[in-house]
């Protein structure tokens, strides 16, 4: 069970990176190029991911699971 969820998590993570364009170094450099032609995509990737981890970790904290 735990091995399946670990695989699934890695798999979904990877698809997320591909879909978001973050497997392309050009997209990452585009975000870091704040003083040139700026591509804010990476900010939206993090902005979309964090609410999920926020809710999850809050729930886990309430149920006394420590990391």
């Amino acid at each position: 069970m735990k091995l399946r969820t670990a695989y699934l998590s890695g798999f979904i993570f990877g698809v997320g990176l591909i879909v978001s364009g973050m497997t392309n170094p050009k997209k990452v450099i585009g975000f870091l190029d704040l003083f040139g032609q700026w591509d804010p995509s990476l900010m939206l990737v993090m902005g979309a991911a964090i609410p999920f981890t926020f809710i999850t970790f809050r729930w886990l904290e309430k149920n006394k699971q420590r990391f």
């Binding site: 998590s9 890695g10 591909i18 997209k27 040139g36 995509s41 939206l44």
Partner: protein, 147 residues
């Protein structure tokens, strides 16, 4: 600062971000682990000293991560990536990323997605630091004319 509207892909960024958030949540909920990719890889490389019970989930997570690209291209077209750098440059850059993420105890996944999600001050400082360093490095390499 001008926004590159042609390169900006808001919808795919949001959809991909949601998937990454779901993936990190899955690993936290069912495995009780942080989806910090630099950490997982480094602990695998330290397999002699790292606790043995953590070996299987780390391997499976990375297998999932790596196989996702292969499975994805069976159904959809992979985005075109054409790095203009030499293999030597890529290797040095990769090595620097590894050293940096170890020094900072995490990367965009561990500190950024997971750490910020659990409101960790340490992760906030780490994320601000590596992003700022990235902005400065990018400026130095692309616009300053110094490098």
């Amino acid at each position: 600062m001008t926004i590159d509207w042609l390169a900006f892909t808001p919808w795919s960024a949001i959809i991909g971000g949601v998937l990454i958030g779901v993936a990190a949540s899955l690993l936290a909920l069912f495995n009780g682990r942080i989806a910090g990719i630099s950490g997982i890889i480094s602990q695998l490389l330290h397999f002699k000293s790292a606790p043995k019970e953590h070996l299987p989930w780390r391997i499976l997570f990375l297998l999932g991560l790596i196989s996702s690209g292969w499975i994805y291209q069976l159904f959809f077209q992979l985005p075109v990536i054409s790095p203009s750098n030499s293999i030597a440059t890529l290797m040095i850059a990769g090595l620097l990323v590894g050293v940096g993420t170890r020094l900072g105890s995490g990367c965009t996944s561990g500190h950024g997605v997971c750490g910020l999600g659990r409101l960790s001050t340490r992760s906030l400082i780490a994320t601000i630091s590596f992003m700022t360093a990235g902005f400065v490095a990018c400026y130095l390499f692309l616009h300053s004319g110094l490098i």
